[in-house]
Homo-oligomer: 280 residues x 2
Amino acid sequence: MTITVIGIGLIGGSMAISLKENGFADRIIGVDQSQDNLDKAVRRRLIDEDMDLESAIVESDIIVLSIPVDAMLQILPKVLDLVDDQVVIDVGSTKMELMKSVENHPKRKQYIGTHPMAGTEYSGPEAAIPNLFSKKTTVICDAKQSKKEVVDLVEKMYNSMEMKILHMDAESHDIHTAYISHISHISSFALALTVLEKEKDEKTILDLASSGFSSTVRLAKSSANMWVPVFQQNRDNVLDVLDEHINSLSKFRTLLIKKDFKKIHELIKQSNDIKRILNS
Amino acid sequence: MTITVIGIGLIGGSMAISLKENGFADRIIGVDQSQDNLDKAVRRRLIDEDMDLESAIVESDIIVLSIPVDAMLQILPKVLDLVDDQVVIDVGSTKMELMKSVENHPKRKQYIGTHPMAGTEYSGPEAAIPNLFSKKTTVICDAKQSKKEVVDLVEKMYNSMEMKILHMDAESHDIHTAYISHISHISSFALALTVLEKEKDEKTILDLASSGFSSTVRLAKSSANMWVPVFQQNRDNVLDVLDEHINSLSKFRTLLIKKDFKKIHELIKQSNDIKRILNS
């Protein structure tokens, strides 16, 4: 099995290592607009070789698109124009707009939208790591729009990476990821800004940064090039969740103003229920 | 050197192990209102023995108070009433109110307020771990209010734990911790509530929880009994920072509404500057 990965960054590079190491792929071809990234990927043995897009597609059984979601809108139709019976997937963080962009493409049934829910705050081929996906969940979207053989092969691929598969329509996917991923990023970016603003006057403040703080703002290291297009494509859902999150914070604010510490205690107890999820 | 630790939880228990293991203490006495905690602490070898408060103080060179900050206001004056020339420290997360509560105590100079900036989202003696404090920062507050020998001994103790020492007045401490610790907790509690509220309708949502989400809401597992008194004692500072954080989030909200993604890109780039701190 030959797999082409378009976009050899954190996600594409980590998939490349996983699929080669677990034996699902015999050969990984890398395609990337940055020759520097490709050279790094060859040196790190993330890919076996690099090629231009057209040649790579001819040689491949599966083509994985792992590029920022704005570029995805440009490249996916182009890839579908070029495929014959190859299987095409994307691994982007938003789905509605992308699915819509190819809904009438004659090769639509060769494509399936997926989203492996894993990542770190780093990016680029140097950030790629093995086992990033193991035991995590991947979403497969609107499987009925694809050929059965395509779905079967893609499920087999994710199974080889030891991922749990969850089927979902694109609309639900975009709502859920707004809650479970996109809002965490906005919350971290905003918290980092709040504290960095204060640091302008108080130079010592950040000597105190403890592991709790680091954990909460870790995602604020994430790449703007990757995340802005996600917020752009999932704007309406992100706005809904952001409103709800600001409401939750305002609830704490009102209770602090009223000195209603009994009710704050209740809210914290309720929020502790998150243990149920994080420990599972 | 005999050290009494009052409150054998995450912080007290971890200090007990560290100070015994590094040889600074020959003997650790535990005092706790829960006999169950004391039994666990003896079984886990966090302490050598348990005692009542009065007997423990007589036997000790240093007394460490590591109890929730509301209980601290009750117990610290009581401990100072009982000491002769023993050294007393607390390790609580707020300082202004506590310092004020003992400012006229005849034994004030035997006491020094400190705050080792380390912790996890867990609590109780089962959460105590060695090396929790190593390479972290501890704050020592208003050292001029204490005898020089007291300051020297406490610095020696924190040095033995490989902690970096930062001197600060109580007022600055409470402002800084509001930024660097207390707001992270409120942000996590609020985010957990936001997502748990949504989960009532959408059962599958939390199958998607990725490591990014887990990191951002990890602190929402924290104990209400410990944190409510912190917010109570540091209410004004926490309110200021919470207002600023809600403002930062509202900035993202406004830009999303206006679809000003260029400006969102700039904000994210600014927030990325947090790397400088988190990697140091």
